[in-house]
């Protein structure tokens, strides 16, 4: 575990050195609860990711970096009661995806990089079960762990200025879904009609860290129907 500055108004807690889909998410979520349990003046909010937690603070109201670091280190040694599992066990969210050509501009690149046929890429992508490691980048964007390693494809050398709403993409060893039009450097292999983020909903984000996710292949016409 290491704590490093992230500019002058934030720090980053590195909970684990490497990402392990089995253990890292639980370790990060547990550390978030431990940090939230101590009142630290000037701390604004936390941003958990795969193996790290961003801690944002106002240096005019908080202690020094050294003091915050010591408080967080102490908090992480304090054991808390384990989190109660949510009623009904872990949430599994099924995400319909249309992998057809016009929604999958980078499927060719993934094919070339992985050496797998397009059908095989789609089959393996939709056979796996994923876990939401964290939500970020844009509102509601789920970073999913559990991508079969043979599908890993490096990010594009130069990010695209615009990626469409609902794009399902692979970036390195990660896969994710774009909730809204945004720039991005991942390889787009399909599109979902689901609404991932809506400020009118009681819980605006569809996905939360810890949720399980499965992709289901749908046809172009099913995609159109779900959008309507």
């Amino acid at each position: 575990m290491r704590i490093e500055p992230l500019g002058d108004s934030a720090l980053i807690v590195r909970v684990a050195d490497h990402f392990d889909p089995e253990t890292s998410s639980n370790a990060v979520l547990a550390a978030v609860r431990q940090i939230e349990a101590v009142a630290m003046s000037g701390v604004i909010e936390l941003a958990p990711a795969y193996t790290t937690i961003g801690v944002f603070f106002d240096p005019a109201r908080s202690g020094s970096f050294g003091e915050l670091k010591a408080t967080i280190e102490h908090a992480l040694q304090t054991s808390l009661e384990p989190a109660r599992p949510r009623a009904g066990g872990e949430t599994v969210i099924e995400v319909p995806v249309c992998y057809e050509d016009e929604f999958a501009p980078d499927l060719n690149d993934v094919e070339q990089h992985t050496g797998l046929s397009q059908d095989e890429i789609i089959r393996r992508h939709s056979d796996a079960t994923y876990r939401v490691a964290c939500v970020g980048f844009t509102p509601g964007f789920p970073y999913l762990s559990g991508l079969p390693s043979e599908l890993a494809t490096p990010r594009r050398a130069s990010p695209r200025k615009e990626i469409p709403v609902g794009a399902v993409a692979i970036g390195g060893t990660q896969t994710g879904i774009y909730p809204r039009k945004s720039p991005g450097g991942w390889n787009i292999i399909g599109r979902t009609p689901l609404r991932l983020f809506d400020v009118q909903r009681e819980s605006p984000a569809l996905f939360h860290a810890g949720d399980q996710v499965r992709f289901r292949q749908i046809s172009r016409s099913e995609f159109e129907k779900s959008l309507a």
Partner: protein
């Protein structure tokens, strides 16, 4: 109790200090790209720090008032007038019912923030009145302002900056004002101070020295998310992909093409490009004025120095607020 937007200019939006508490759902902080400028303007009209104001970017914004208000603005080299009289940056201005306020952006580009006493009355969405332009929520209908929009103004708090006697005596603008460095932030050819980022050591010694010795230039595909910079390629020693992790406004990240991106208020909450540096908080106002074609140079300072500068500024701001309260009615 409202202002009518006679002319919206280009990319004018309702903003406050931004949206915090939703980074876990990926919601950007957003808000005024230079939140300090908006805070200073709000102080000059006796608003709370969190009152919503207007961010202007390009072109001319014309606002028509239907009641008496106090206004102030800070930011780039704009020309602001109440009817035909100039309102200098960082000064309290007096608006009568029927008056028109115009903000004209300089040809070289930039941003400015206008505060109106009472603040702009738009609904709180996820705890903020700021417009999330990419997410299309918050602010006025989740979008940039258009010609003809009508913005409701909130009631003024129990106080107002400028007594009746002062309003009569000074007519358009009060003689008191904010420090010049807070009021006007649109200087060209700027030096921006940075601290080292978490992945500094992943870059070659040439890239590290290049960052603080060379000049970079802002490219045209820059926006409220970030200023993209052209200049010498910043090469990495270790080119392996990173897992995405927290980033913040001010983070200088470097995608594989070696061209740094200086993240601004609308930036993503987490990202996977290595972070070579972070612009210090007190210099974010300079970053918020970067415009395509502008040169920018970086200068390294220590973390302790960056935090001391911020604490100092906050103390100065608290004193500034106390000083202004002498003029509160």
């Amino acid at each position: 109790m409202s202002v009518v937007v006679r002319s919206a200019g280009f990319l004018t939006s309702v903003q406050d200090l931004g949206r915090t508490g939703f980074r876990q759902s990926g919601v950007s902080v957003g808000g005024a790209l230079d939140s300090h400028a908006l805070r200073v303007a709000n102080a000059l009209v006796a608003n709370d720090d969190t009152a919503a104001g207007i961010e202007a970017t390009l072109g001319t914004v014309r606002l028509h008032f239907d009641d008496e208000r106090v206004v102030a603005w800070c930011g780039g080299a704009f020309a602001v007038r109440i009817n035909d009289d100039e309102l200098p940056p960082g000064h309290t201005g007096f608006v009568e019912s029927g008056d028109e306020l115009t903000m004209t952006a300089p040809d070289t580009g930039g941003r400015a923030w206008l505060a109106i006493s009472g603040g702009i009355d738009v609904p709180l969405i996820l705890g903020s009145r700021s417009t999330d332009l990419r997410g299309s929520f918050g602010g006025h209908g989740g979008r940039a302002l258009r010609d003809g929009d009508e913005l409701s103004l909130d009631k003024e708090r129990s106080r107002r900056c400028g007594t009746d006697e002062e309003r009569r005596r000074f007519q358009t603008a009060a003689p008191w004002g904010a420090p010049a460095t807070w009021a006007t932030t649109g200087n060209r050819n700027v030096l921006v101070r940075i601290v080292r980022g978490a992945h500094w050591d992943r870059f070659t010694p040439e890239a590290q020295s290049s960052l603080v010795t060379n000049s970079f230039s802002v490219t045209s595909d820059s926006d409220r998310m970030g200023a993209r910079l052209d200049g010498p390629e910043l090469e990495r020693i270790d080119a392996t992909d990173l897992l995405s992790e927290a980033v913040a406004p001010g983070t200088v990240q470097v995608p594989p093409n070696g061209k740094p991106i200086l993240l601004l208020g609308d930036c993503q909450t987490i990202g996977g490009y290595p972070k070579i540096a972070h612009v210090i908080t007190v210099d974010l106002p300079i970053a918020a004025q970067l415009w395509p074609g502008d040169p920018v140079r970086f200068h390294e300072v220590s973390l302790a120095e960056a935090q001391d500068l911020l604490r100092e500024r906050e103390e100065d701001f608290a004193r500034f607020r106390v000083g202004l309260s002498l003029h509160f009615e």
